[in-house]
Structures are given as C-alpha cells and as structure tokens.
Amino acid sequence: MKLDHRSLESDQERRLRRARRTAKVVGIVAFVVFVVSIAQMLWLKHHPQAHAQAIQEALMQ
C-alpha cells in the first residue's frame, strides 16, 4: 500500500503547499496577460483594414 504523504503534513505545511500552487497559477495569469497585450497589437498590425475602419468611424462622428 502506498503511503499518503499528505496525511503526514502539518497544517502549516499544507497551507504552504497550497500557497505555492496559488502563486504558480497567479504567476501564469500575469504572464498570459503580458503575452496577450502584445499579441492584440500584433493582430491589429496584421489586420490593417479593421484598424482603418475603426479610425474612419471615429472621424465620421
């Protein structure tokens, strides 16, 4: 039978393990936001008609 190491954890160790997991998830979210912020500008660069149309609509008002 395999030993369940987590059953031997103290409360404090369990809290720390969960904290590290939370930190990883939040860190990944931050990195994704960074990539998306550049990716959307790249998308606009490769779809100039969408950008031009938006500017034209703005200027018509």
């Binding site: 409360d11 404090q12 809290r15 720390l16 969960r18 904290a19 590290r20 939370t22 930190a23 939040v26 860190g27 979210v29 931050a30 990195f31 936001v33 960074f34 990539v35 912020s37 550049i38 500008m41 606009l44 660069k45 100039p48 950008h51 500017i55 609509e57 703005a58 200027l59 008002q61």
Partner: protein, 538 residues
C-alpha cells in the same frame, strides 16, 4: 501559548546572531522586508520631492530662471516616475508586508525568498532609472506616460524601459506573494469576511496589479521594439498608430491610480474605528465598495483620452462609467463619516491625517468628476486643473494615508511612542501648506495654464507664486516627519504598550510592541471579540 513563546524566543535568538548583511540583505522575514520597503520609499519620497522643488522653483515666476526646458521636462517626468513607482507603491507594499501576516495570524509571507527578491530588485531599477539624469543624452523627458513618438526621441528609452520592467516584475512578485498569503496562510477561524479592511483592500489591489502590470510591460516592450528593432506598433509612418499606445498605457494607468488609493482606503478604515472607538460602519459594504471600484477601474481608461478623437459612443460610455465610480466611493466616504458619528473620538496624529484624508480626498474626487464630463474635459484637458486634481488624490489621498499609517503603526513596529506634539506640528504644517500648494492650481487650470511647461503667461504669475511658496513649505514640513521617525526609532524614551491605542482591535495588537521577530509561529486561537470586525452580521 507557553510553547509558542519558547518558539518565538528561539527564533529571536537566531535573528540576533545575524550580522547586518545577513539581516537586511538576505532577509526573508516579512517585518524586516517591510522595513526595507518603507525606508526605500521614504528615500524615494525625498528624491522625488526634491525634483518637485526644482519644478516649483522654476515656476515661482514667469520666464526661465533656474533650469533649461529639457531639464525641466526631465524633472516632471522623473518626479512622477519616482513618486508613483518608488515612493507610493513601495510604501504600501511595505505596510502590507509588515501588517498582513500579523493581521491574519500567519507566521510570515507565503513565499519569503521571493519577498526578498521583490524588494531587492527595486534599488537596482531606480539606480538605473535615476542614472539616466547623468547620461550625455539626458533622462526621459516625455512625461511619465511615455507617449510615442515624443518618448522615443529620448536617448534613455532603453534604460527607462528596462527599469520599468524591473519595477513591474517586483510589483507582480509582491502581488503574487500577497494573494498567496491572504488566500492560504490565514489562521484557522480567520474567515475572509473577518479580515481587516486593510487586508481586503490589499487582496483586491494585488489582483489589480496582476491584471495590469503585465500590460504596462507589454506597452513599454513595444516602445522598445519600435525604437530599436524596426517594428511600427505606434509609428504612423510604418502603418502603426500612436493612439493605440495611449489605449494600452491607460488600460494599465487607470487601475494603477486605484492601486495607489485602495490600500489607502484600507488604512483609513483601520484608523477611524480605532480613534472613534466604534467598529467600522458597514463592513461588508466597505469591502464590496472596494471590489466595485476595482472592477470599474478596468472600464474607464479612455477618460484620459477624450481629446484624441474617440467615437462619440465611446466618449459617452467612458464618461458614464467614470461617473459611476462616485457611487462606491461615496459609500466609503459616508461609511467613514458614519463610523465617526456618535463615536468617542480622540484626535491623535493618525486620526488627524485620516480625517484630513476623508475631506481632501473627497475634493480630489469631485474635481475628478468634473474631469469625467466630456465637454468640460475638452477645456480642462492638459491644464493645471488636472495637476491639482491628481495631487489632491495622490498627496492628500495616498501620501496622507501612508503618513497616517506610519504614525498609527510605528509604536507597534518599534515599541516606542513617537512625539505626539511634533506629530501634530507635522500634520498642521502639511495640511495647511498642501492646500496652499495645490488649491491655486485649480484656478490656474481653469484660466488655461497648460501643464508640463517651464514658462508661462504673466497672467498666471500670482497663483504660481502662491503655489510655489506652499510647495517649499510643504516640502520643508516633511523634514519634521523625518525627525519624528528618527526620534521614535532611536531616541524615544516612552515605551508603547502592546495594544498602543485604546480603541485598537485586531490580531496585530495582541502581539508585543515591538512584536517578536517571528510572530504566530503557532497559529493563534481566534476570538471574535478580539477582531476589528469579528461580528459581521449576515
């Protein structure tokens, strides 16, 4: 508890064996790192303040008398960057580092080594940024907003972009640590809705940081590639659009404003109940108001750009969304007043700063509402009215809250009481001169004086002179603040009690003053009556 005490003493002995380098450079202790952040922030406050003195000296009378226009522009740019990223943000991170673990009953931050790294990045980032002032091409002079193409004309773009990346990494790591600590390290029984409002405000602020600091990093990365790697994200000649930078920048920039004020709301929500000797009025409403303000901060960014030629529908949307922020902010102001109402109030220095915050921040909020109106903003845009508005929000808002927090918690941190007399001298000087400094700038803006100029029409001379006199005296008043801190830390003979303030409630006040180097190594038993807001009605 006996076991806990032995445990703490053992750790304190270990801490006494550390030399200066080990204790301060290699520290993983949240209290030491909190102190490092606060000292760093104070240093940056005086450096940024000295830049402000140069600005006000040059504007003392019309004409160019002290500095060249380019240097003046460097001063306005650096003043903002240093004050925002070097003084206000690190001060709040320092306060969070010191207080959050003690407030939630945690032994330390969840990731102590990352905590050390997030602090020690900052001195290098600011050394890099400030060093540009001494480079042959000069430092950044295009304003802290770094709008292209102006900002790309500077020789120091790469330095500033790298420094901002470092600051951003530091802030993101700090935010990750705070989120992980609050969500996972609370003592048993410390439910989310029993946490002090300061902890709530920091949790929400940390999520804001995670959502927007990478966007700033993305924006400045694109600036860098536009300048050095032949991309054309924001270069009209290559098919790019400089207005896109403004959108990306302000998607970061507006939440950034709330990053600098939400922890201040948390601080004021701790101080007013203590000195009114009443629990905070509407605890849940306060928490939801902070969350609402944070949400709304993501959908108002274009109110900084009304004058660039947005579609009419967008202008109307951003105008109404901005005005909507007044609702949760009003909830907070009314709740602070309701907390004081009928309370057994005393007016120690932290409370004086807190009351000044409520009144003066509200003035900044009202001028913000005026700026939110599209037709009115077309007149106010880029005038001194805007300068007056955001200084009321950031100086009498964020910085007054940081000063209030310092007076409120420094007896706990050091075990010594500060001089109440000199604290009050500092307060009254600050509150008088800050209004002499910034209130006339409303009139200058309404009369049409543009911001970021070293010279101006003689019609603006009187108000500028008054403003500069206020600036010099406000700056000098901060030397009193420095003296009070130095006296309290090293020379004060008056010892602080554990609770320090009669009306103080919360786990942090159950610890000794100063607290042991390692506190709550054994999770505390939570008694609701000990908590600041323990009895929350459903």
């Amino acid at each position: 508890m006996a076991h806990a005490a032995t445990h703490d003493e053992h750790h304190d002995e270990h801490h006494e064996h550390q030399n200066f380098f080990q204790r301060w450079v290699m520290s993983t202790n949240h209290k030491d790192i909190g102190t490092l952040y606060l000292v760093f922030s104070l240093l940056m406050f005086f450096i940024g303040g000295s830049f402000a003195m140069v600005i006000r000296a040059e504007l003392f009378k019309p004409g160019l008398q002290l500095v060249q226009p380019y240097f003046f522009n460097e001063m306005t740019t650096m003043h903002a960057l240093v004050m925002i990223f070097g003084a206000v943000m690190p001060a709040f991170v320092g306060l969070g580092n010191w207080m959050i673990p003690m407030m939630v009953g945690a032994p330390d931050m969840a990731l102590p080594r990352m905590n050390n790294l997030s602090f020690w990045i900052l001195p290098f980032a600011f050394a890099l940024m400030l060093s540009t002032l001494f480079l042959p091409g000069g430092g950044p002079a295009g304003g802290w907003t770094m709008y292209p193409p102006l900002s790309l004309q500077s020789a120091s773009t790469a330095y500033v972009v790298f420094a901002i990346h470092l600051m951003g990494i530091s802030s993101i790591m700090g935010a990750i640590n705070i989120i992980a600590t609050i969500l996972n390290m609370r003592a048993p029984g410390m439910d989310l809705l029993k946490m002090p409002v300061f902890v709530w405000s920091w949790l929400i602020t940390a999520f804001l940081l995670i959502a927007v600091m990478p966007v700033l990093a993305g924006a400045v990365t694109m600036l860098l590639t536009d300048k050095y790697f032949s991309t054309h994200f924001f270069d009209a000649a290559g098919g790019g659009d400089p207005v896109l930078f403004q959108h990306v920048f302000w998607f970061f920039g507006h939440p950034e404003v709330y990053i600098m004020i939400l922890p201040a709301f948390g601080i004021i929500s701790e101080i007013i109940p203590t000195f009114a000797r009443k629990p905070i009025f509407g605890y849940k409403a306060m928490v939801f108001a902070i969350a609402s303000i944070a949400f709304l901060s993501f959908i108002v960014w274009a109110h900084h750009m009304f004058a660039v030629g947005l579609p009419l529908g967008a202008e109307i949307f951003f105008m109404y969304a901005t005005m909507l922020i007044a609702v949760p902010t009003g909830v907070k102001v009314f709740n602070w007043v309701a907390t004081m109402w009928g309370g057994s109030m005393t007016f120690e220095t932290p409370m004086l700063f807190a009351i000044a915050f409520v009144i003066l921040f509200t003035i900044g909020g009202f001028s913000g509402l005026m700026l939110a109106l599209v037709p009115a903003d077309f007149q106010y845009h880029d005038t001194y009215f805007v300068v007056a508005h955001f200084h009321y929000v950031l100086v009498t808002g964020a910085i007054f809250a940081i000063m209030a927090a310092t007076y409120y918690w420094i007896p706990k941190w050091t075990g010594n009481m500060y001089s109440e007399f000199w604290g009050k001298v500092h307060f009254w000087n600050s509150v008088v001169w800050v209004n002499v400094l910034f209130f006339p700038q409303h009139f200058l803006g309404l009369a049409g004086m543009p911001r970021r100029i070293p010279d101006y029409n003689v019609a603006f001379a009187n108000f500028n002179m008054i403003s500069s006199i206020g600036g010099f005296l406000f700056g000098a008043s901060q030397l009193i603040f420095l003296s009070v801190i130095i006296h309290c830390v090293w020379f004060s003979k008056k010892k602080a009690t554990d609770r320090v303030w009669e009306g103080a409630r919360g786990l942090e006040w159950t610890l000794s003053s100063p607290p042991p180097h390692h506190s709550f190594t054994i999770a505390p038993v939570i008694h609701d009556e000990e908590l600041a807001h323990g009895h929350v009605e459903d």
